[in-house]
């Protein structure tokens, strides 16, 4: 760049298009659309729209495509906050939430994932890479205190871990002021929280948070119920447990 000097405007001369144009006889049929940019645009749009339409629309229209499971319930307000923290910290960049129906995966993680388990997941968090293990069935696998210590310093619980430390989760407060807005947004999307639940959601949130704090206290961990880590633990412990619940009821 230093050697030369930029030609910002390059002079050109060209003949304008003439108004009257007759195509050569015997030219390739495709030449027609090459003269018509708008038709080219519309044609491309039709060609590219087809595949998506045919693949996506049936999953909305045909119920058997995503069979619902009665024991799958919406997230509690605390879990919802925890889920949003999971999204915010980009956990999906290293962890999947999808147990594939292989012997090796069922043995390692538990029951394989069902489509009906994800109907309240806005957005889905199946992930595409397992730098760490799958988390679809993490709920109930470890005590709350394990998660607390693990998030603070992963290598303390799993030696050799390459997961980052998340100490700020113990410092930052849950954004309780936007709980009602979150609940209302979910209701708009069809998540069946009872009418007016947005007003009482924070009360439920605090109740559940206190339970987790009490659990942690048993293992000599003192933490305020307002911290983000509590919400994240609530979410992690919920994950994949809806179906376990069903199996328990079936056994009884």
């Amino acid at each position: 760049m230093k050697k030369g000097n930029a030609l910002d405007n390059e002079a050109v001369a060209a003949a304008p298009l003439s108004k009257d144009y007759t195509p050569h006889a015997g030219s390739h049929w495709h030449r027609w659309i090459e003269r018509k940019p708008v038709q080219m645009l519309v044609g491309s749009l039709i060609v590219v729209a087809l595949g998506g339409l045919i693949e996506i629309i049936p999953t909305f229209l045909i119920k058997s495509n995503i069979p619902t499971i009665t024991s799958v319930k919406p997230y509690t307000p605390l879990e919802l906050h925890g889920r949003d923290i999971y999204v915010k910290e980009g956990c999906y960049t290293c962890h999947s939430q999808m147990v594939r129906p292989f012997r090796s995966e069922v043995a390692r993680y538990g029951e394989y994932s069902k489509s009906g388990e994800f109907i309240y997941d806005h957005p889905f968090q199946w992930g595409s890479k397992r730098t760490g293990p799958d988390l679809a069935r993490i709920g109930g696998k470890y005590p709350d205190s394990w998660h607390f210590n693990h998030m603070y310093e992963p290598s303390s619980m799993s030696p050799g871990s390459i997961m980052p430390n998340y100490p700020w989760l113990m410092k930052n407060d849950i954004e309780k002021d936007i709980t009602p807005a979150k609940i209302r947004a979910m209701q708009t999307l069809g998540v069946p929280y009872p009418e007016g639940y947005d007003k009482i959601a924070n009360a439920d949130l605090e109740k559940q948070a206190k339970k987790i704090v009490a659990n942690l206290a048993k293992d000599n961990i003192k933490v305020s119920p307002d911290k983000e880590i509590i919400a994240l633990i609530a979410y992690l412990q919920r994950m994949g447990t809806d179906i376990k619940l069903e199996q328990k009821t079936a056994a009884q």
Binding site: M1, K2, K3, G4, N5, A6, L7, N9, E10, A11, V12, A13, A14, P16, E34, R35, P37, M40, L41, S44, L45, V47, V48, A49, L50, G51, G52, T59, I66, V87, E89, G90, C91, C94, S96, M98, R100, A107, R108, S115, F118, D121, H122, P123, F124, W126, S128, D134, S155, G160, S161, I162, M163, P164, N165, Y166, W168, A181, K182, A185
Partner: protein, 471 residues
């Protein structure tokens, strides 16, 4: 240095008519700006990738701080490389070639400038908001709703400017590169709007309109076709313009370009579900994804063949010309990646490759090889043209080529190995029927491979620094 009179802004836009000819000016300035932006964001995006790569070897590099942790850095890397590096690369190439192919100045200088600056602002805001933790949690579509709207607006401006130029063209037939630009414009608009459909509940946070399986399907319909219509079709357009120019040969086959254009854009869209094989997505959708992914091999290789055969009779030039060298490796990498893609869409192969570093290696052959090298080729070709001089050092450009190629090899080979090894370890049982390896064992054994990958990345970035010095 003789600096002749440059036209004023008003003169540059004016068209004079004499003897039945129009006299006007091509706008090189906007091309120059996009070139600077491409180089700058390329270096930034690759540096972010390097940081993320070394974080996987040395977790201390996460610094126990939110803004520097892998989960936030990685989306900055992917978004920067795709939308900032390749994005600006597309605009650089389109703004240069479209004017020449249409024999017309860009439709509006104001729109060009608006497009350039707002796109750069979006990139800066994207980096800041992603590191601050504002994300939708959908890969390659992480940006939150205000930025989504800004992107839509800028994309419309780009399309408006492009179509304005096409409509006032002085060349009746649209060259194949322009077909690809048109398809790119319309498809990216469709994908972005549908996938980013979300319901905001604060000024920076929203929930995806779709849930679970549908969200996954829409996301990978988008995600796969972001690869198709952001990383592939516009770059095929660039290939169709810059390769014949650099080689001074006509495109090998006109018929092949017709067939492969229409079949490529038609088939690509269906292939999204191959990202969701063995997931909870309904089986019929998985099968469709696999079948269309396999068919996709034909038009993809159609493009590669049309590119490589354009060089017939010009291979002696490849020996000397760094631009052509970059192009040949780029097209070859495209061919390898598009062969591997259909293979990875086979359910039995995918069962091994999915969730491992194999995927990461695969996309980097495409990104570093196809997109990176083609971008470098275009830059090395454009800069001397716009600045009316020779390249500072041909030798340095050749060095860039070799260290870049070495970088790709050092990047990809360890990751292929790592992915394959880890997947087999996950699946191995003892004779007693117990899983043989703890998950952690399969992580710690990867660290040397991650280190080698990082070194490959250093090589590649070194090449880019050489280019910055050279141009």
């Amino acid at each position: 240095m003789n600096r002749e009179q440059q036209p004023t802004a008003a003169e540059a836009k004016a068209i004079r008519h004499t003897d039945g000819m129009d006299h006007f000016y091509y706008d090189n300035k906007i091309v120059k700006w996009f070139t600077y932006a491409t180089i700058f964001w390329g270096a930034v995006g690759m540096l972010m990738g390097l940081i993320a790569a070394f974080q996987l070897v040395f977790p201390e590099l996460n610094f126990s701080t939110a803004q520097t942790s892998f989960g936030r850095v990685r989306p900055v890397h992917t978004n920067a490389v795709i939308f900032a590096f390749v994005g600006n690369g597309i605009f650089m190439g389109v703004y240069y070639s479209l004017q020449r192919l249409c024999k017309a100045r860009m439709f509006s200088d104001v729109l060009s400038k608006f497009h350039f600056w707002v796109w750069q602002i979006i990139i800066v805001l994207a980096a800041v908001t992603l590191l601050a933790g504002y994300t939708t949690g959908k890969e390659y579509a992480e940006l939150e709703w205000p930025l989504d709207i800004l992107i839509t607006l800028t994309w419309v401006v780009f399309g408006w400017n492009m179509f304005g130029t096409i409509l006032k063209r002085r060349e009746r037939h649209l060259y194949v590169a322009i077909w690809f630009y048109i398809a790119t414009f319309v498809t990216v608009a469709m994908l972005h709007i549908v996938n980013s459909w979300e319901i905001p509940f604060t000024w920076m946070k929203s929930y995806s309109w779709y849930a679970g399986v549908q969200d996954a399907l829409v996301q990978w319909w988008y995600g796969h076709n972001a690869v198709a219509f952001f990383l592939t079709t516009p770059y095929l357009g660039l290939m169709y313009y810059f390769l014949p120019k650099a080689a001074n040969r006509p495109v090998y086959s006109y018929r092949l370009s017709i067939i492969h254009f229409w079949s490529l854009i038609f088939l690509y869209i269906w292939a999204g579900p191959h990202h969701l094989l063995y997931s909870s997505l309904p089986d019929w959708a998985q099968s469709l994804g696999t079948v269309f992914s396999l068919m996709l091999l034909a038009p993809s290789w159609g493009g590669m063949i049309n590119g490589l055969l354009t060089l017939r009779g010009a291979w002696d030039k490849v020996r000397e010309d760094a631009v052509l060298k970059f192009m040949v490796v780029a097209i070859t990498a495209y061919g390898m990646a598009t062969f591997e893609g259909p293979m990875l869409s086979l359910k039995n192969v995918n069962a091994i490759s999915h969730f491992t570093d194999w995927t990461i290696a695969h996309v980097h052959v495409g990104a570093l090889g196809w997109n990176g090298f083609l971008t470098f080729a275009v830059i090395y070709w454009l800069i001397p043209k716009i600045f009316r001089t020779n390249l500072h050092s041909t030798k340095l450009a050749n060095w860039h080529f070799w260290i870049g190629t070495l970088g790709i090899v050092f990047y990809a080979v360890p990751l292929y190995w790592a992915g394959f090894m880890q997947s087999l370890a996950w699946k191995e049982f003892t004779p007693e029927g117990q899983l043989k390896y703890q998950f952690m064992e399969t992580v710690t054994q990867l660290r040397p491979f991650y280190l080698m990958r990082g070194i490959g990345g250093v090589f590649y970035l070194t090449g880019v620094v050489m280019m910055i010095v050279n141009v």
